[in-house]
């Protein structure tokens, strides 16, 4: 008798566990599946600029849609565009549209650009005794080109009437890796100071050798933080995290504007939006617009052979254009202005992806 109870003591929990596992699975699939119309895994890669936002918005989305798994692996906009055109990923993040030559090589049929958020690029500086700094595009161009060597240069003085500037040497910090941040920062200088800026626009430009290079936004921010007299371009969330001081930058309307989420949304609002929803927020018009902002997009195909993927992506995009816009300012990104938001919402409806789709090339899957 005693021996039997001894066995029972082990047998009952074991039986319960063994029995409950499949039962639990059955309940989960019975309850979960119809509610969301099938589970799906979406894989994406690309822009590291939008990665913190993607992580935040994916986390919030996942709470409402537990059956959808979204993986976003970063790697840079160039990698994202390449992966997307090779059909390695379901969606990709990019801070710049395809060039005409690359657009022709995209496999997978028609695709869309979905703008998600935007972000200011700060001109961060470290100069003891100076709390407020204003810089025009011409002065910025000359500083980052190495034409202006010290902080008490007449050009900087002219931008900052009444501010006492020390004769500290300027240390310019830039990115050692290629980056969309560099692309947009140099793009702004080329647009706003076309005669002064000679280094061109690109994810990497040929910086003077006596400047300092840092890995990623945090690397540049760290150089600025630790060097008196340093100046560098750092994206907003990293600059805030490092508690750097930001310069106000002169916009097209001639006003000096500090980098904020609001001023960036104002810049995007004034930008010329193309039919494919690409736009350029750099050096935007408007008195309250901050002129150096990164746009960013998610690349999505029109048709997916797996209908569940298309549905999940549509839900995800709709979430981004709904609650996701509120998430943006919490993680220091600028939400889209209403005019662009409406266009983007309309474009989500065009994402098809039925298994009996109009394109006959993809085999129907069930």
């Amino acid at each position: 008798m005693k021996r039997i109870t001894g066995y029972l003591r082990w047998l009952v929990p074991t039986a319960l566990i063994v029995g409950l596992v499949p039962l639990g699975g059955a309940i989960a699939s019975a309850v979960g599946a119809p509610a969301q119309g099938g589970s799906a895994t979406l894989n994406g890669s690309g822009s590291t600029f939008q990665q913190p936002y993607n992580e935040a918005v994916t986390g919030a989305f996942k709470q409402k849609n537990p059956n959808v798994t979204i993986n976003y692996s970063g790697g840079g906009s160039g990698k994202g565009r390449q992966d997307f055109s090779d059909q390695v990923v379901d969606f990709a993040g990019t801070d710049a549209p395809y060039s005409a030559a690359d657009a022709a090589n995209v496999k997978g049929g028609k695709y869309f650009y979905f703008p998600t958020v935007a972000g200011p690029i700060t001109v961060s500086y470290n100069l003891s005794g100076v709390k407020k700094l204003q810089l025009s595009a011409e002065t910025l161009a000359k500083i980052f080109q190495g034409d202006i060597k010290t902080w008490d240069d007449p050009a900087i003085k002219a931008d900052n009437p009444g501010v006492k500037l020390p004769s500290t040497a300027i240390t310019v910090a830039h990115r050692s890796d290629s980056s969309g941040t560099t692309q947009n920062f140099t793009g702004f200088l080329a647009a706003a100071a076309p005669t002064a800026w000679t280094l061109g626009t690109g994810s990497t430009v040929s910086w003077p050798a006596d400047q300092q290079a840092g890995q990623g936004n945090p690397g540049v921010g760290q150089i600025v933080k630790s060097t008196d007299g340093a100046i560098g371009y750092v994206d907003f969330s990293d600059a805030k995290a490092l508690k750097l001081k930001f310069a106000s930058v002169k916009n097209k309307a001639g006003k000096f504007v500090a980098p904020t989420v609001k001023a960036t949304t104002a810049a995007v609002e004034k930008a010329q939006v193309n039919a494919d929803l690409t736009y350029n927020p750099l050096n935007a018009a408007g008195a309250s617009a901050y002129p150096i902002a990164s746009p960013t997009w998610i690349l999505v195909y029109q048709n997916y052979s797996d209908a569940a993927k298309a549905t999940a992506l549509k839900n995800f995009l709709n979430y981004i254009y709904g609650n996701g816009q509120k998430v943006a300012s919490q993680v220091d990104y600028a939400p889209l202005p209403k005019n662009l938001l409406d266009k983007a919402k309309a474009q989500v409806k065009q994402v098809g992806g039925t298994s009996s789709g109009s394109t006959s090339s993809a085999p129907a899957s069930t």
Binding site: T48, G78, D177, A209
Partner: protein, 325 residues
């Protein structure tokens, strides 16, 4: 090799299949396939990367050897990168070789028996540290003191003709050719050490004892008996270290300062073929991407050239020492 049949061993008659012949043939095919596989993989890598890099080669032609790397203006000259790669690898080998040979000699000929093993283990452990850890250590710990050291050396040599150019314009952050060379030197030390140690260990003790018996000091014994016997092995070890130094990527990318250029200022920032791929591939497209893949092809070619040169050197020293001994 041997054309005339040797005498058959006992128990075998002519025309009869010896047992194990099928297994022998099978092994032969297997070994051949494994050997060919390496060549096929190498060839595929070379073909694929060259094809992907072709837009760069056809756009720049000989311009690939210029030192103007400026993606913003669509100029992709890899001259500065090739220079940086060779300079960093050269500095690394120059710094590492004497230390490695010293450690190897210490372990084989000088150290007491009971501390040899611990030293060997410690040096081998250096090879197990991931290169990104070396890179971060160099960036966070080594760079700052080196920056002030560079500044001091630069100031001290400012009036000496050649040295003043060599040590001019030291990088304020400590990110430079020299910093990269130093960190790579530490990384290749275990490789060169373990190969030279193995080679030194093969020197017949009879020869060493003979040298000592003739009244040679320990150094004379090493110079007269150990080195001549190990010359080709030392060259081979150095070449393997050099290959590793040229291919090193992340550690260099973190501390070289990312400024592709040809300059005599070894305390200034530069760039190498491998590190620019790591730094710029993520955001590259079009010709820029082709150029970065092309950098890989160029590095591949340089590595092959150097290892062929090394083989030639080894063959020559072997022939020479065989002739004189």
């Amino acid at each position: 090799m041997a054309t005339d049949a040797p005498a058959l061993p006992a128990g075998l008659t002519k025309g009869k299949r010896p047992p194990g012949l099928i297994a022998d043939r099978g092994f032969r095919i297997l070994a051949l396939a494994a050997g060919l596989m390496v060549l096929v993989i190498l060839a595929l890598i070379a073909i694929y990367t060259t094809r992907e890099a072709w837009p760069w080669f056809s756009a720049e032609r000989l311009g690939i050897f210029s030192d103007n790397w400026d993606p913003a203006h669509q100029h992709f000259g890899a001259g500065g990168l090739i220079y940086g790669t060779l300079l960093v690898a050269g500095v690394a080998v120059l710094l590492s070789l004497p230390i490695s040979v010293g450690i190897a000699l210490f372990v084989t000929d000088v150290a007491p028996e009971r501390i040899r093993r611990p030293i060997v283990y410690t040096v081998d452990l250096l090879a197990a540290i991931p290169s990104v850890v070396y890179g971060l250590w160099a960036l966070l710990v080594l760079a700052e003191p080196l920056a002030s050291l560079f500044q001091t050396i630069s100031d001290a040599t400012a009036s000496i003709p050649i040295l003043s150019t060599l040590f001019a314009n030291p990088s304020a952050s400590g990110k430079s050719f020299m910093t990269a060379g130093i960190i790579v030197a530490i990384m290749i030390t275990p490789i060169i050490t373990s190969i030279t140690r193995e080679v030194f260990a093969t020197v017949p003790s009879a020869q060493k004892e003979a040298a000592l018996a003739l009244g040679a000091t320990r150094w004379e014994m090493i110079r007269g008996a150990v080195f001549p016997h190990s010359r080709s092995g030392m060259v081979a070890g150095t070449m393997i270290g050099l290959g590793r130094a040229m291919g090193e990527t992340i550690a260099i990318a973190l501390v070289i300062g990312s400024s592709p250029r040809i300059t005599a200022n070894i305390f200034g920032p530069g760039d190498t073929l491998a590190s620019i791929i790591a730094n710029q591939f993520g955001e590259a497209s079009g010709t820029h991407r082709a150029a970065l893949i092309g950098c890989g092809v160029v590095l591949f070619a340089i590595t092959i050239l150097i290892s062929m040169a090394a083989r030639a050197v080894v063959a020559r020293t072997d022939r020479r020492s065989a002739g004189t001994v």
